[in-house]
């Protein structure tokens, strides 16, 4: 991020604008990437509502609410980070980025804890390959659960990596050389990942109460 404007662009505003467009195009493809998972979820929910009624109550909505709050706050601090990057407030930028990272890491830690808990209770997505006429059941529900939250968690992990890289770079860069575009790009990504969770939360954790 400390480099000057990259070659094909004339000035930073031009570049920022291009980065924003590029990043939104990337997020557009992420929408469809996660979209597949949501269509998969919906299709299963329509055909087998009973699975959601039966197994969603096994998910801990309290924990998930805490995680939601953590992500929301991290989005807030991320927005601040972008602001600080553009106003070249270096210390605040590093602080905001670190807070975002801590919240994101907390989310992942809780998620890991939750996963461990499910595995302990045999709530795993693996289907029994040998069994004949297994039929949909616990494994089906936890299949959706793990696949959806797993892809989300991987994205959070990727976001954390990018944030770490930004924070280190900001730390090393003199304030006058700070550039907003990279922070903005990572910020957009982070907010997007947050949005995915905003849908996953009711879809999975509250579904047990929502289902008939």
């Amino acid at each position: 991020m400390p480099e000057a404007v990259r070659e094909p662009f004339a000035d930073p505003a031009h570049q920022r604008d291009a980065v924003a467009l590029g990043m939104w195009a990337f997020l557009g493809q992420e929408v469809l990437f996660f979209g597949v998972l949501f269509v998969f979820y919906t299709s299963l929910r329509v055909r087998h509502p009973e699975l959601f009624a039966a197994f969603a109550p096994r998910l801990d909505w309290r924990l998930a609410t805490v995680m939601t709050v953590a992500l929301l706050i991290s989005s807030f601090t991320m927005a601040l980070a972008v602001r600080f990057a553009f106003t070249r407030a270096r210390r605040s930028l590093v602080l905001a980025l670190s807070t975002t990272m801590i919240l994101g890491a907390a989310f992942l830690a809780l998620k890991g804890w939750e996963y461990a808990h499910h595995f302990e209770h045999g709530e795993t997505p693996q289907i029994d390959l040998a069994g004949l006429g297994r039929g949909p059941g616990l494994a089906t529900f936890f299949g959706v659960y793990f696949v959806l939250t797993g892809f989300h968690a991987l994205h959070v992990l990727g976001g954390l990596g990018a944030l770490g890289w930004l924070a280190v770079a900001a730390w090393r860069t003199p304030a006058s050389d700070l550039r907003g575009s990279p922070v903005m790009a990572v910020g957009l990504y982070w907010h997007f990942v947050d949005i995915v969770w905003l849908f996953l939360f009711p879809a999975l954790y509250l579904a047990g109460r929502l289902a008939p």
């Binding site: 291009a18 269509v39 997505p125 289907i127």
Partner: protein, 526 residues
């Protein structure tokens, strides 16, 4: 060597792609040759049925994901887009290089799968065969294709941003070359359809590797859901394959008719319309798969809707030739071949889009013939046409026009002989993907194999005389064809940052009546 592997110059990256894809095409073509030899006789005598299944899968996967989808965009598009826009490079040059590396990595993974024992699912990866029953290397191959998709997404984003943000002063949207319009439409599909395939393939890998029941009917999943996802990508993907080709033809026909495009606005808009409507027709691959009756009717209807803009293109090309000054050079012969074969291929697509007809023809050789007519007869002709058209710009040399024509006619004849019989085979009811077949189909299959031999010769020829031109060809000059467009205003080959002085555009595109006359002599019929 190192300067090539770390280059961020779009022109060099384009050539890296050209080299890589030529290798893939040769591999895919050699496999096709083995397929055709096997099919020359009714029994499966050359290779076993298992090997045959691996061969057509390899052929389909390589040709689609590692050749035809990236072909024109990553080679001609990469090379020409900044030139046509008057820009020094793509918006994100390093991303461009990264996408080549990702592409190569994907190719290597897929090839590893092939070497390790192959893949036998067909290029469609239908579940539950791919997830549960196949004992071939599905996961490796799927990850390879996933990477190829990622590379497509990067390229698409790069093109979109470049087209929006890096046009030369004065280059308004309605002054863009039609090739740029088609690349833009292609990029939209690349960015918005590819992720669906990417996720779907990852789900297949997860289901197979971790035994999570996603598409498995036994566990409440649905194989049809997989098909919905697959075709949601793969139908738009066929427009990824054809749109850039149409863009090339829209450059060639005006140039060699010395006419303005007939209905510039219609052609540009039809590219976008194809891209948008192309997203709405995927279910026409599932008419007999058990999708709902209602869905089938809707998808059939929309498939016809998407054909209207394709018709506009064909009509406009003809209109451009009308009252023109037609100069029958090698690129133009390819363009004419494209128009003829695209019409046949597209028309047979319409036959397949008719519900009752598809019930009979689905998954027969008719389908094989339909898509080869568009993809080989259409798109490959466009690719070769574009290659010949811009070769003087890229290499700075002229190739042998005489050999160019011989190759073009050879290809055309070889093509017809290979794939016309397959239409008949399909109509007679021969299912595809079979190593052996009842003897009554022997004659036509033999004809098809004979044609494939001619086709193969036709493909080897350009490789020879184009390479020879690098050594012995005459210098081409900046604008040998007397074409319009910013790429012809700079030297051949262009300097590192494309233009010595950034160009400013003041005119509408394709002002052929006033374009410079060609500098090539002794070519064509002038």
């Amino acid at each position: 060597m190192k300067s090539w592997l770390t280059t961020t110059d779009h022109k060099r990256i384009a050539l890296l792609y050209l080299g890589t894809m030529t290798l893939f095409f040769t591999l895919g073509g050699l496999v096709a040759t083995v397929i055709r030899v096997e099919l020359a006789t009714a029994a499966s005598d050359l290779v076993t049925a298992d090997t045959y299944n691996r061969l057509f899968t390899l052929h389909g996967v390589i040709m689609v994901f590692f050749f035809l989808i990236p072909s024109i965009p990553t080679f001609l598009g990469n090379y020409l887009l900044p030139l046509m826009l008057g820009a020094p490079d793509l918006a994100f040059p390093r991303l461009n290089l990264a996408s080549w590396y990702v592409f190569v990595a994907g190719g290597l993974l897929t090839l590893t799968a092939m070497v390790a024992g192959g893949l036998d699912t067909g290029w469609t990866f239908y579940t539950p065969y791919s997830t549960t029953f196949s004992d071939s290397h599905v996961i490796l191959a799927v990850l390879g294709v996933f990477l190829a998709g990622l590379s497509s997404v990067f390229t698409g984003i790069n093109f979109i941003v470049t087209t929006h943000r890096l046009r030369a002063p004065g280059l308004a949207w309605l002054r863009l070359p039609l090739f740029v319009w088609s690349l833009y439409a292609t990029s939209l599909i690349l960015v918005l359809a590819t992720p669906v395939l990417a996720m779907t393939l990852l789900l297949v890998a997860i289901e197979r590797g971790l035994h999570v029941g996603i598409f498995d009917p036994e566990a409440g999943g649905s194989p049809l859901l997989f098909q919905h996802f697959f075709w949601f990508y793969s139908h738009p993907a066929v427009y990824i394959m054809i749109l850039p080709g149409m863009g090339v033809i829209s450059e060639l026909v005006p140039c060699f008719s010395r006419n303005r495009p007939f209905g510039y606005g219609f052609v540009a808009a039809s590219s976008l319309a194809i891209a948008v409507f192309g997203f709405l027709v995927w279910g026409h691959h599932m008419f007999v798969a058990g999708q709902s009756y209602f869905a089938s009717v809707v998808f059939s209807f929309l498939s016809f809707a998407v054909a209207v803009p394709s018709g506009v293109k064909v009509f406009s090309w003809l209109g451009t030739m009308h009252r023109g000054s037609i100069w029958l050079t090698t690129p133009m012969i390819y363009a004419l071949g494209f128009i003829a074969l695209f019409t046949i291929g597209g028309g047979t697509g319409l036959a397949l889009a008719m519900l009752a007809v598809d019930v009979h023809l689905h998954d027969t050789y008719f389908v094989v013939a339909h898509f080869h007519t568009i993809m080989v007869g259409g798109m490959l002709m466009a690719y070769l046409g574009g290659l010949h058209f811009w070769w003087p710009k890229i290499s700075g040399r002229l190739y042998s026009e005489r050999w160019g024509r011989i190759a073009a006619y050879t290809l055309f004849i070889g093509f017809l002989l290979t794939f016309l019989p397959q239409f008949v085979l399909g109509t007679q009811g021969l299912p595809r993907r079979t190593a052996s077949y009842p003897p009554e189909f022997q004659f036509l299959q033999g004809l098809s194999s004979a044609g494939a031999t001619i086709l193969a010769v036709g493909y080897v020829l350009p490789g020879v005389y184009l390479l020879a031109s690098l050594v012995r060809g005459r210098p081409a000059g900046d604008n040998p064809w007397g074409a319009t467009g910013l790429e012809w205003c700079t030297s051949s080959p262009p300097p590192p940052h494309n233009f010595v002085r950034p160009p400013v555009v003041t005119d509408d595109p394709y002002d052929y009546p006033r374009a410079p006359q060609p500098t090539i002599t002794g070519v064509g019929d002038a």
